[in-house]
Amino acid sequence: MDDFLVSLVSIAFHGAAYGMVLYVISVGLSVTMGLMGFANLAHGVFAMAGGYVMISAMSSLGLPYPVALLVAFIAIAVVSLVLEMLLYSRLYGAGELDQVLFTIGLIFISVALARLAYGTLQQPVMLPDYLRGQFSMLGRDFPAFRVFLIAVSAVIVAGLWFGVERTSWGAMLRAAVDNRGMAQSVGINTRRLFMVTFAAGSGLAGLGGALGAEIIAIQPIYPFANLAYFLIVVSVGGMGTLRGPFVAALLIGITDTACKYWLPEFGAFLIYATTVGILLWRPAGLFGRTN
């Protein structure tokens, strides 16, 4: 019984760390899809780029880890803003198929560029000493880095919720997700709202990619290899909400970890089966609005 409890704690802990990273990466995608109705399969590109930016900032510029994380966030937000203005905005309202292809194209390009710039090797992350080793809690050892990960993600989540629930920008955002036409007619500048939201969401993905580089390895095929997971978080959680993807990401993180722990022979099977089940039960996701 004690062993069982021990393993439960392990699974909850590692699952939470993984789920938090998934959430920070995917939440932007959820909002983009809900707000602009845009299926951005290339969202993982931002996460990967965030990882690379952090690694370069540390190894080439010698910046300390926390600063490098911040740089990743800002750099990706800025780059995505440019992309939004130049490319993405042309495709709002285009067909699903066009969006899928366009974003797959972006993935191909980014995979190739990443390989040219960094080679195919997985990039090692040089964590500062204070994040290495173990952290003792309740008589058990936890990897310090993952504790840090959960803590930082929790802060981001809190900040995000505050931003959306308590600020005027958040109110506009919620109004626009709810009914874009209505929001426009009451004088909200939806074009600017899109840009800011897109940049913030992508920046978060970059930050998530950088934070999670130890869990989801930064390598050129990153956007492809993890696409299914990001999309599952969004579609299971429901688009255009903050809460949905959060629950979904934790659910997936913990299920995935539990499967690997207890039922490794099933692999990712249960994750996908759960996804199928949930989407059949609620096609718009757990917290999505059926339209």
Binding site: S7, T120, M126
Partner: protein
């Protein structure tokens, strides 16, 4: 219509390129199927360097007038169907006379029927599942088998530990490693307290290793393909503090490949592995090999066992060319390969078993230590001398 014209033009261009290539009849064409893209492209790179280094060093060994041309193809990883297609094209279009490379077991398995049909000698530079050489009489292997390294690991471990946990990648070589270690460890009186097969495409090892830790073994035996995954699993081992809770980490040398060590931090210090090659070995042949490597590719670059597989593979190929004086025949080549011996490989004495066409070599126990501020696989003892593939020995009638 335009598209069809373009298509025809492209087809023609291809055909012309082909005639062009046939003009150099004196040249021996060697097809290389290797991995240059995908997550494991680093493996292809380090093998490629091994081959080219050998060719540069040994240009003069070839019979007069004979030239070698490598026809290099990228399989993009464990991609059997692609490998088969590439092999087919190499044989039919490029008319290669020898085929080599082959990092991945599935890829090697996929081309076996082709090799047999075309009577094409294939020198396997890496793929390590025991059964591969039984798949075609035109296969010869210069690399290793997982049984070769994991079986002695089990024998050695059983003398020191009683409880072991096994974690391997879920594909041919991993299952070989598991079976070999388990048999040797059990035969030596040890107990397996648990085992897990990890999917080959896997982003995060932590849950698997946590499970291993919770099973409280004395020793954790692991095999994953040498490459980025080795670093990943080492990180998980370190993050979860297995060393601190007294779990030893051991495995075949794929766990601590020489070229990945610099990415691993201090995590692998004290990890024991058994393998046929370490870049840190002090054999004279290896010292000169390392020196040549560093001179060619820079101080920072380190060869791995895969580079040596490629280097020795080229040596075997040169030998068969020399034996036949530049006129390559499939069956003659195999006779030459069956008798291949090199007392002075960077990894020590090696030969090819005439019966099984598989590699015979020494296996060394190594510990990861700091040498001159850098991690290295330091060879401690030779745990098996001139060992043949144990799987084939056990399964012999």
């Amino acid at each position: 219509m335009k598209s069809i014209r373009t298509l025809l033009t492209l087809l023609m261009a291809g055909a012309i390129g082909l005639f062009h290539a046939q003009a150099f009849a004196q040249t021996i064409k060697i097809g290389v199927i290797n991995t240059y893209s995908g997550p494991n492209a680093s493996l292809g790179d380090i093998m490629d360097k091994g081959m080219k280094l050998y060719m540069k060093q040994n240009e003069k060994r070839l019979p007069p007038g004979v030239k070698i041309e490598l026809v290099i193809r990228d399989d993009g990883g464990a991609n059997p169907d692609k490998a088969k297609q590439l092999a087919q094209e190499l044989i039919v279009r490029d008319k290669v006379q020898i085929l080599t490379g082959l990092i991945w077991t599935p890829n090697a398995a996929a081309i076996a029927p082709l090799a047999t049909e075309a009577k094409l000698p294939v020198v396997i530079m890496n793929a390590g599942t025991s059964s591969i050489t039984t798949m075609s009489p035109y296969f010869a292997r210069v690399s290793f088998t997982l049984w070769q390294s994991s079986f002695p690991t089990g024998t050695w471990a059983a003398k020191k530990y009683k409880r072991a946990y096994i974690a391997v990648s879920d594909f041919g070589p991993g299952i070989d490693a598991e079976n070999a270690f388990e048999k040797a460890f059990r035969d030596g009186g040890g107990e397996i307290v648990g085992k897990v097969r990890i999917p080959l495409a896997n982003p995060d090892f932590v849950p698997f290793i946590q499970r291993a830790k919770d099973a409280k073994p004395e020793v954790l035996f692991a095999f994953i393909p040498a490459g980025p995954q080795a670093t990943q699993i080492m990180k998980a081992y370190n993050d979860l503090g297995l060393a601190k809770s007294g779990v030893k980490f051991i495995g075949p040398g794929d766990l601590t490949p020489d070229d990945e060590l610099p990415n691993m931090g201090d995590a692998p210090l004290g990890v024991y592995t058994v393998h046929h090659y370490s870049a840190a070995s002090t054999r004279p042949a290896n010292k000169s090999f390392i020196a040549a490597w560093k001179k060619e590719y820079g101080e920072k670059s380190t060869p791995s066992f895969m580079s040596v597989g490629a280097w020795d593979g080229m040596d075997a190929i040169y030998q068969l060319i020399i034996d036949q004086k530049g006129k390559i025949d499939g069956d003659q080549s195999m006779i030459s390969l069956r008798g291949y011996k090199n007392a002075n490989s960077p990894r020590g004495p090696i030969s090819i078993d005439p019966l099984t066409r598989d590699i015979v070599q020494n296996e060394y126990l190594r510990e990861v230590r700091k040498v001159g501020g850098k991690l290295a696989n330091v060879e401690i003892e030779t745990v098996a001398t001139a060992i043949k593939d144990p799987w084939k020995e056990i399964n012999k009638k």
